[in-house]
Symmetry: C2
Subunit: 151 residues, 2 copies
């Protein structure tokens, strides 16, 4: 399916392509891209198996790649698109990055950061805009298919 | 001051030496070591400035180093010693690592992971033992001295 360039669906589909690469490599299929001025400045997929590092999530790898590419340790003008709701670690990393916007696809009730959000406490940066549910079914179905295959 | 080898104070003092390196380099002075069978398998200090990466905290760098050294992506038999209470991101990373024990020095009421812990929700892994307040004053004073110098 073709999405119009620059739309949330377009960039989420690019993140989804990263998730598909993870799937093919036997990794939990999560993908992310970082976008700045409508340009993708970083792409990554989950690599916990390949790097033998349980913290090598797509978001962390994409952030580090974006910091390197832009030569900046804060990303207020960037958006991160990720196929699955970020976990607590990744949300904490996104907070430190002061990223302008986070767009995610499927929700993750068990591991997602939202379970820790209270009236008093946030996990993402208070200035970060959050958009959810973009290509939600497609992103979630890939994760379900992966775990179904594992069993 | 000399601490008896193998004690929590001994290893925390090794983490403190890492924090002192960070201080000298103009980084927020936090240091960490990972210990396995009484042997230090990883040492790191905060490098957010040097690496231009707002997520390059001592704990994250120490974990990745330990994963690489041990060739394992889970660390149930290891202990992480860190001079300051881990932030949400680092606590999330420690959760994924399934580390056996976390020992920290000073508390961090503003950024520390503890503010998100509720009766229902934990941030560290449920099997991770937590010990606090080891060399607390020494660790906290170094952070205070750093921010005092900045102002």
């Amino acid at each position: 399916m073709a999405y119009s360039f620059g739309s949330d669906e377009y960039f989420m589909n690019e993140a989804f392509k990263q998730a598909e690469i993870a799937f093919e490599e036997g990794e939990v299929p999560v993908g992310a891209v970082v976008v700045c001025n409508n340009k993708i400045v970083a792409k990554a997929h989950n690599q916990t198996e390949r790097l033998n590092d349980s913290t090598a999530h797509a978001e962390i790898l994409a952030l580090t790649s974006a910091f390197n590419y832009l030569g900046a340790k804060y990303l207020p003008d960037c958006t991160l698109f990720v196929t699955l709701e970020p976990c607590t670690m990744c949300a904490g990393a996104l907070n430190w990055s002061q990223i302008g916007k986070v767009v995610y696809g499927a929700t993750d009730p068990k591991r997602g950061y939202k379970r820790l959000v209270t009236k008093k406490e946030q996990v993402l940066h208070p200035k970060t805009e959050i958009i959810t549910g973009v290509l939600e079914k497609q992103c979630g179905d890939l994760v379900s298919a992966f775990f179904k295959k594992l069993r």
